[in-house]
């Protein structure tokens, strides 16, 4: 199948998948339950999520391993299962993706803050390395380090993925719009800070996920593209901003509303487009339709 980067060099726009977390919840994952444990206890449900995105037209699908670092799993006493859970996550997505779609092994933040001394860089590196190895052994094609807000943590994860696997490495951070209309992560980094400071790590694909609906992603992609004219950009946007309705929180943006921004995001410079919280196979199917046009 070759590398994702090579497919992009041919000028193709690729479609990624939609939400995992909110999808698992819709399938019955309870608050406080470990999502990654489903890879062993409900593999068929996890498979169905991955498969539904492939069926909707995704060129690539993620893995159910966002919180799969041993550091995160320790909350549930599952730190010793990190390798196994990540390997299972990638195997399930691989099965759904077959040999003609990419599998992106998901790595999320640990929630520990390096600068506060809550964790050492060495411990982070170890934890991310183990996770990345599990994902590679489960046959992922790439590692996607996502929802990052701290450059130092992102850099450590990239280094870990680079040195412990042969996979392509993607990194996306989560930006919010400030009162003055700039985009910054929770830790204060802008999209151009991200590009400049992570460039030295030779990542293959960079981008943004979560935090925003499709509309605000346009500005973020523009800023990334301005900072680097060549690097491939991936976007995973939420289905709008959550609203509370009848005892539930819902992401309000419909596939039709979302699709109206697709061409603007491509014009801004995005190469891979998919969804984050609240997006469904219906959103991905609509995306695919728009991109074909």
């Amino acid at each position: 199948m070759g590398k994702i980067k090579e497919a992009l060099q041919k000028g193709k726009i690729l479609v990624s998948d939609g939400a995992w977390g909110t999808f698992l919840q819709a399938k019955g994952l309870k608050a406080g339950e470990c999502p990654e444990l489903w890879n062993l206890e409900h593999p068929e449900e996890v498979f169905n999520i991955a498969r539904s995105y492939i069926d909707a037209g995704s060129n690539m699908v993620e893995t159910n391993s966002f919180g799969g670092s041993s550091i995160k799993l320790a909350h549930y006493g599952l730190e010793d299962k990190a390798y196994e859970l990540n390997k299972a996550a990638a195997s399930i997505s691989r099965k759904a993706a077959g040999s003609d779609h990419y599998v992106l092994g998901s790595i999320g933040p640990t929630g520990k803050i390096l600068m506060m001394g809550e964790i050492t860089e060495e411990a982070l590196f170890e934890s991310f390395s183990e996770q990345a190895r599990g994902l590679e052994d489960g046959k992922a094609d790439a590692i996607i380090i996502e929802t990052m807000s701290d450059i130092a943590e992102a850099r450590t994860a990239i280094k870990a993925a680079r040195s412990s696997t042969d996979l392509e490495v993607i990194c996306t951070m989560t930006f919010e719009k400030t009162k003055t209309g700039e985009f910054r992560t929770m830790m204060g980094f802008s999209p151009s800070d991200m590009v400049q400071q992570l460039k030295t790590e030779k990542i293959d694909i960079i981008g943004a996920n979560c935090g925003n609906g499709f509309e605000d992603m346009i500005g973020i992609v523009r800023e990334i593209r301005k900072a680097d004219p060549d690097i491939p950009i991936l976007v995973h946007a939420n289905a709008g901003i959550p609203v509370y309705k009848d005892g539930q929180t819902v992401f309000p943006e419909t596939p039709e509303q979302m699709s109206s921004y697709v061409h603007n995001i491509i014009d801004a410079g995005a190469n891979i487009i998919g969804g984050c919280c609240g997006t469904t196979p219906a959103h991905i199917s609509k995306l695919k339709e728009m991109i074909k046009k």
Partner: protein
């Protein structure tokens, strides 16, 4: 305000913990909140003045800058660390009753949710503004909140959540807290939480930033 109190406020505002601390780079080698607080006590300044005219002023300034997006989480964390290091010197005076704090604030991340960065920020900001904080940690059940209120009469409660699925647990906790202690004010916050959500579940206060919570709490004892 005396010069040393202003210096303490400045150290807290800019996150200068102690002399060894390399942060912020432009204050390298200078005394930090730690040494200055000790010095202020040694020179006979009232502990209450050190708290309310020094530390609290610094925390208020960083809280406002954070609300205005002029600084981000790392700067607030460094300020909070400077504040908490300094406040260690004042602990004996809290225990002896020489310094009265504004009140007791109980905080926790709601049941099912393990995220603590936002909760910790609010906890540190409220403590740094002269309140005693009882931090119940993450994944906190309604029972734990209710028991903490019983142990700390007259306290108020803050509920935090990061996930859309756990934020809905706030409604249940709020009901239990109000049933057990109607006069307790319940503040809510977290990325998915909004003023609209606050109104729908009937909580007392919502703020998108920690400083809002501080100002609301202070208004209750003003």
């Amino acid at each position: 305000m005396s010069e040393i109190l202003e210096k303490i406020a400045y150290c807290v505002e800019f996150g200068k913990i102690n002399q060894q601390s390399p942060y912020p780079p432009d204050m390298k080698g200078q005394l930090g909140a730690d040494e200055l607080t000790k010095e202020a006590l040694d020179t006979g300044l009232a502990p209450e003045d050190i708290l309310k005219k020094g530390l609290v002023i610094g925390m208020e300034r960083i809280g406002i800058k954070f609300r205005e997006n002029k600084v981000f989480v790392p700067q607030v964390l460094m300020s909070a660390k400077a504040m908490s290091t300094a406040i260690e010197h004042l602990k004996p005076f809290f225990q002896s009753g020489d310094v009265k704090r504004s009140g007791i604030f109980i905080i926790g991340t709601v049941a099912g949710d393990l995220h603590d960065i936002g909760k910790n920020l609010v906890s540190m900001m409220v403590e740094g503004n002269g309140w005693e904080v009882v931090d119940l940690g993450t994944d906190v059940s309604a029972d734990k909140f209710v028991n903490a209120i019983k142990d700390n009469p007259g306290s108020h409660v803050g509920l935090s959540a990061l996930l859309t699925t756990t934020m809905i647990n706030m409604e249940h906790i709020l009901k239990e807290v109000k049933a057990a202690s109607p006069e307790t004010r319940v503040l809510i916050g977290g990325a998915p939480v909004s003023e609209d959500f606050k109104n729908k579940i009937g909580a007392d206060f919502y703020s998108p930033d920690p400083q809002g919570a501080v100002e609301y709490l202070n208004s209750l004892v003003a």
